[in-house]
């Protein structure tokens, strides 16, 4: 939860960055596009069942690191901002946080050869059979 809130905070910071640094239009647009996506991903991955969606923010963090180099260079302050924000977004997105519920193997179970929810059924059947010897 905390890691997600921190990433929402970084997203909000990037959202106001164009005002703070008085960025030119095209650079402001870059922030206006990337910030709401980071915030949305962080909000969605707050839920335990969709927690692994946080890895999408890892990718966006990497993009933040690369963007000042790949796009037109715009001064030290801007570059430092993007780099620090990128590193922080990556770090927080890699923190799993507390997951107290279980979801039958989660979303990846849908592609698994032996999904956890199916194993749970078989396990239950086996216990029942042992107990009643059928």
């Amino acid at each position: 939860m905390t890691a997600r809130i921190l990433n929402i905070g970084i997203g909000l910071w990037l959202m106001v960055l164009p005002f703070v640094l008085d960025l030119p239009r095209s650079w402001a647009n870059h922030e206006y596009i990337i910030a709401p996506i980071i915030i949305s991903i962080a909000i969605i991955s707050t839920s335990e069942s969709t927690r692994d969606f946080r890895y999408a923010n890892t990718l966006l963090g990497v993009w933040l690191l690369l963007s000042p180099w790949l796009l037109q260079h715009l001064g030290m302050t801007y570059m430092l901002n993007e780099t620090i924000a990128g590193l922080l977004v990556i770090t927080f997105s890699l923190i799993r946080g507390k997951v107290s519920e279980r979801f039958g193997g989660g979303w990846r179970s849908l592609l698994a050869r032996t999904p956890a929810h199916l194993l749970a059924v078989q396990e239950k059947d086996k216990n029942k059979n042992q107990r009643y010897g059928s």
Binding site: S40, I44, S47, E48, S49, E101, H117, L119, R131, Y132
Partner: protein, 194 residues
């Protein structure tokens, strides 16, 4: 000697391998409430777009800023104003959220998946609209942002039920039954497949 009685039909409400049931009212009611708030906001914004109101309330960016968003080419690109489409989306969220028993992840997978389809794309559309505000129109709209926040907040809590339904259909498939029939809530299947 044990004399436990096992009912011939399966009545579990917690999905296999889960620690809770995602279809309880405790899980669903908050989403229905939030969707209803979103519906009211969207109806209010539609009322402006349909010229039933002269102005729109905006405490942060000012009414003029909000109005330039609500009158923008994207908002009016379709025959119906975009807030009205949003209102329809929220209505669908609320209706598909409220229909069905607390076992609906297995007795009504089609409703749960329709609910997921109502919640997901609504959130993604509003993300696009949030980006469009500063990028295309250089303006902001507080209530539009609030509505976008509401539709994004709903996604995570709604998806667990969708996952439970999809896993149930996966078990149906592995058991050799028709996933099509199970999707529409076939009772014979839902009482056989755990």
């Amino acid at each position: 000697m044990e004399t436990s009685y096992y009912a011939p039909t399966d009545t579990t409400t917690v999905p296999s391998g889960w620690t809770y049931n995602p279809s309880t009212w405790r899980e669903r009611i908050p989403l229905v409430v939030v969707a209803t708030i979103g519906l009211l906001i969207a109806l209010y914004l539609s009322a402006y777009q349909l010229r039933m109101l002269d102005t729109v309330w905006d405490p942060f960016f000012g009414s003029a800023s909000s109005e330039s968003i609500l009158d923008s080419p994207i908002a009016t690109i379709l025959p119906v104003p975009d807030a009205l489409l949003g209102a329809f989306g929220y209505l669908l969220d609320a209706v598909t959220g409220v229909i069905g028993s607390t076992r609906r992840w297995k007795t009504m997978p089609w409703m749960v998946i329709l609910f997921g389809f109502a919640v997901g794309p609504l959130g993604i559309t509003s993300l696009f609209l949030v980006i469009a505000q500063p990028v295309f129109f250089d303006a902001w709209c507080t209530l539009c942002l609030t509505s976008a926040l509401i539709s994004t907040v709903m996604i995570g809590p709604a998806m667990d039920e969708v996952l439970a339904s999809l896993q149930y259909m996966q078990r149906v498939k592995r058991s050799g039954y028709s996933t099509w029939k199970a999707f529409w809530g076939d009772k014979a299947i839902s009482s056989t497949v755990v």
